[in-house]
Subunit: 187 residues, 2 copies
Amino acid sequence: MAVSREQILDAAIRHLNASPTASMAQIAEAAGISRATLHRHFSSRDDLVVELGRRALDRWERAQDEAGIAETGAGPADLRATLMALIEGEVGVAEEHGFTLTVETTSEELLARSAELERRELAFIEACQRAGVLRSDLPAVWVSSSIYGLLVALRESLRRGEIAPREATRLMVESFLRGASDKGDLS
Amino acid sequence: MAVSREQILDAAIRHLNASPTASMAQIAEAAGISRATLHRHFSSRDDLVVELGRRALDRWERAQDEAGIAETGAGPADLRATLMALIEGEVGVAEEHGFTLTVETTSEELLARSAELERRELAFIEACQRAGVLRSDLPAVWVSSSIYGLLVALRESLRRGEIAPREATRLMVESFLRGASDKGDLS
DNA sequence: CTAATTTGCGACAATACTGTCTCACTCTAT
DNA sequence: ATAGAGTGAGACAGTATTGTCGCAAATTAG
């Protein structure tokens, strides 16, 4: 087996991120396999896209669970540590994170799961705000959105080779938490 | 004339942002016109996409020019004012900003212009870093990228109706410059 | 080495999309 | 009222994409 199913999914999501209208033939080429083989793994283009979305949500959910956003304590220290772990986990799956929102499917399953994960993340951010870990003068839904946006930027920067992978987490955390303003500057 | 050319472009970019693989028929429906009329304005799908990209780049360039990033002074105060004006201008065209990078065309013209605008923006950010307006411990190219990412997030939030349009600039500036961390929290 | 599995390749029909055209209809300005 | 411009609806051929199939070649396992 030259190219595994996972490798196909990796190549597919990378190619679809850069080129959302890609055909099955183009995706197969990007994965280095023939169109027939691609169809053997995924019966239709929609099947592939749904599978991609499912995997993206799986990984996002896993990042939330491993950070422990549900069972974390209410103290600032706990919340801060959990927040760092969450961001770190999401940086690890930055490739997928942008995909779920660009997803071109009418799959109820994906939409429902996506909404649930957003809900959980929002609740956690609100907890961080109440504990004084995150600013309360920004809407929680916007804070959540800004994480998403920065992850998209991160994915693009990595794809273009503009930043080093080992720097990714640091850049993400710094930009998200502290912003780009020089502290010495008169705010 | 029920629907003007500009209105068609507005509807098209909005629909393509949410659904990049949309067909001409779907775009026409989103614009509230017939497929024939859409073809009267844009001879082909590629023509439409290139036109959309051109307009996006026009507006981005205008935002840069009106902020005056080329002829601004070298002092921190000048640079800071110019930076605020630039971000404000870009927030006004958030709808388009994400489009240029998702653009699915091989148009040399668009790619060249996009590269040039990125180059100009990067140079300005580096100037801000040298003057102590923006942090120097983050790569300028990442700072530039993070603006792009936050604009994408802003566009999505506005589209979903999660934030008020009048709040857009404030949220963008606060997140970009100061980040989401609560200042009272032990950093 | 051999059998089994998997792959690439080409062919194929079915479908979807594109771009063009005609014609009837609806506006609007005069 | 009426001429003119613009529109929607539908038909149309041409093209691209999709999904399926058979078969030969290659890979892998035993």
